[in-house]
């Protein structure tokens, strides 16, 4: 049993490295961290002012993370979630509470290196107090078979004068089926930034539904999505910003690049119920700009190399 756990931890760490993570973080006592494989907590490190409370469930783990009032966590928290076998379900319910005058950055790697049939559900509840910040980055690493269904749903509230930045990146391996949802309220002078970067191939399907509700005066939101599709991949991106309060400012910026017989749809919705709010949007769907490719070709790159550079930049 013990060796089995060690093997599993080893496999998680390998996948973590492949997805660009630095394994040393899990050995550094100053770096807060948690490693969850399936429904097992394989590692956990708390630092002063940060409480991590995991509770294993049948199909995953419920985790509560609290950053105590007045604490700014120095090093970004490292999270590693994943399923090593070909098949399985992992349901993570994560509640993150950033109390007042507090802040944390966190980078989460979700790894499914052997996925053939895996369902990964993440339900986030994010509460950010006043004068606080939470920057959360989620990087996915899937195998080449495309057998993953990823369903991250985030509900949150950004308190007065606080910041929430969430970045979702899935550009290594196949997407499989991705269904992202955000619904976040932003209070007075609060700021929300949501970034999604996805590269879909084969028969992958992508659905992104992001919603920022600007409820407080002078609150701000930026929703930026970059989806690159090739082969027969499909995507639908629904980005919504609602301005309910005076001087609320929001912007939706969605670019989808389609190649081969891929299909993309973008629905930017901007709603304003307060006449002093201002929300703007830009959405572009199309193939890669031929002038951009020709420019790179004129520097000696082949067409394939040029496509990689343009797509790489877009998803960076």
């Amino acid at each position: 049993m013990a060796t089995k756990i060690i093997d599993e931890y080893q496999a998680m760490m390998e996948a973590y490295e492949k997805s660009g993570g630095n394994v040393g973080e899990f050995e550094n006592p100053n770096v807060p961290s948690i490693v969850i494989s399936g429904n097992k907590v394989l590692g956990k490190n708390e630092v002063k002012g940060l409480i991590i409370e995991p509770t294993p469930t049948k199909d995953g783990v419920d985790v509560k993370i609290t950053v105590k009032s007045g604490t700014k966590i120095l090093y970004p928290m490292a999270l590693c979630f994943g399923v090593i076998p070909k098949e399985g379900v992992q349901i993570i319910n994560m509640e993150a509470v950033i109390e007042d005058n507090a802040g944390m950055n966190a980078i989460s790697h979700c790894v499914f290196p052997n996925a053939e049939h895996i369902v990964h559900k993440m339900n986030y509840k994010i509460h950010i107090g006043k004068n606080s910040f939470f920057r959360y980055q989620e990087i996915h690493f899937h195998g080449e078979k495309g057998g993953v269904e990823v369903v991250p749903y985030t509900e949150g509230s950004v308190g007065e004068n606080s910041l929430f930045v969430s970045t979702f990146t899935l550009k290594e391996g196949r997407v499989g089926k991705l269904d992202i949802k955000y619904d976040v309220d932003v209070m007075k002078k609060g700021k929300l930034e949501l970034y999604s970067k996805v590269w879909a191939k084969g028969k992958d399907t992508v659905r992104i539904e992001e919603k920022g509700n600007l409820r407080g005066e002078e609150s701000k939101a930026l929703i930026k999505s970059r989806v690159v599709l090739q082969d027969e991949a499909r995507s639908k991106v629904y980005s919504t910003v609602n301005g309910y309060a005076p001087y609320a400012r929001g912007h939706v910026d969605c670019t989808e690049i389609v190649q081969d017989s891929a299909v993309a749809e973008a629905v930017p919705v901007v709603g304003v119920t307060n006449h002093l709010a201002k929300i703007t949007h830009e959405a572009a769907i199309g193939s890669i700009d031929s002038k951009e490719l020709e420019t790179l070709e004129s520097r000696g790159l082949s067409e394939e190399e040029a496509i990689k550079v343009v797509v790489g930049g877009l998803l960076k």
Binding site: E294, E297, S298, G300, L301, V309, G313, L314, L315
Partner: protein, 251 residues
């Protein structure tokens, strides 16, 4: 003459209009040659045909580079032979840093080469190396990055399409110096411009009008003609210029 580039009887038709007509030019190796002409003369189209852009395959004629017929070659193949283009209005690239952009084509990708190229266009490397080549750059800054990237490539033939356009007056001096540096480095330069002042730093100038070269020679003579006589033509009737030219030749 040792020509690095020779264009023979080139014709390009776009939307039913002959933009380049029975065009001939011969560019001497290691020289700086200016192609001058008013807006719409066909200068950029010529640059695109020479670079081999997909929408600019010639309808007639041949292009020889280093004695080799390159008419059917792709952009990439031409670039790998040593031809490149500094675009008149360069594209923007999301997520790509100035450093990345310059290194893409650079023969020697070392940081010192990138920095040197930036300094030559009056862009402080400590400020610009990590800037993104997107809409956050001003038009003039983007132009300078373009020239730096082409310079770092050490091309055999650098086609510079209006290198000074959008560049502020102080930096224009730097750009002029850079054009001279291309020559020192051993590049042949095809300098496309509508400004006589820029054309005058070349060794030889060609006057392009309505898709043809109508005069060539010492830059001063060509620009003088461009300034003084060309207006009569008003870019409508080639024959007017031809008549003027014929008079000159008779003299």
């Amino acid at each position: 003459m040792d020509a690095i580039l020779e264009v023979k009887n080139l014709s390009l038709i776009k939307s039913g209009k002959e933009i380049i007509k029975d065009f001939n030019i011969s560019i001497e190796r290691y020289s700086t040659s200016a192609v001058i002409g008013i807006n719409g003369a066909g200068k950029s189209s010529l640059a695109y045909v020479l670079m081999g852009l997909k929408g600019y395959k010639p309808d007639k004629g041949r292009i020889y580079f280093d004695g080799k017929d390159i008419t059917e070659l792709s952009i990439t193949e031409r670039a790998q032979l040593g031809i490149t283009l500094a675009w008149q209005t360069p594209s923007l690239f999301e997520g790509l840093t100035v450093k990345d952009y310059i290194q893409i084509g650079a023969k020697d990708k070392s940081l010192s080469i990138v920095k040197d190229a930036l300094e030559r266009v009056a862009l402080d490397p400590s400020v610009y190396l990590h800037r993104i080549v997107d809409k956050s750059l001003s038009g003039g800054e983007r132009k300078k990055v373009e020239l730096a990237a082409v310079f770092a490539m050490h091309p055999k033939l650098a086609i510079l399409d209006e290198p000074d356009s959008g560049v502020d007056t102080i930096s224009v001096e730097k750009v002029m110096q850079l054009i001279k540096d291309f020559k020192k480095m051993g590049s042949t330069v095809l300098l496309i411009t509508h400004r006589d002042r820029v054309a005058e730093i070349a060794d030889k100038a060609f006057l392009m009008c309505a898709g043809q070269i109508i005069q060539q020679g010492a830059p001063k003579d060509v620009t003088a003609f461009f300034k003084n006589e060309c207006t009569e033509c008003n870019h409508k009737g080639m024959p007017v210029i031809k008549k003027e030219l014929m008079k000159e030749e008779v003299k």
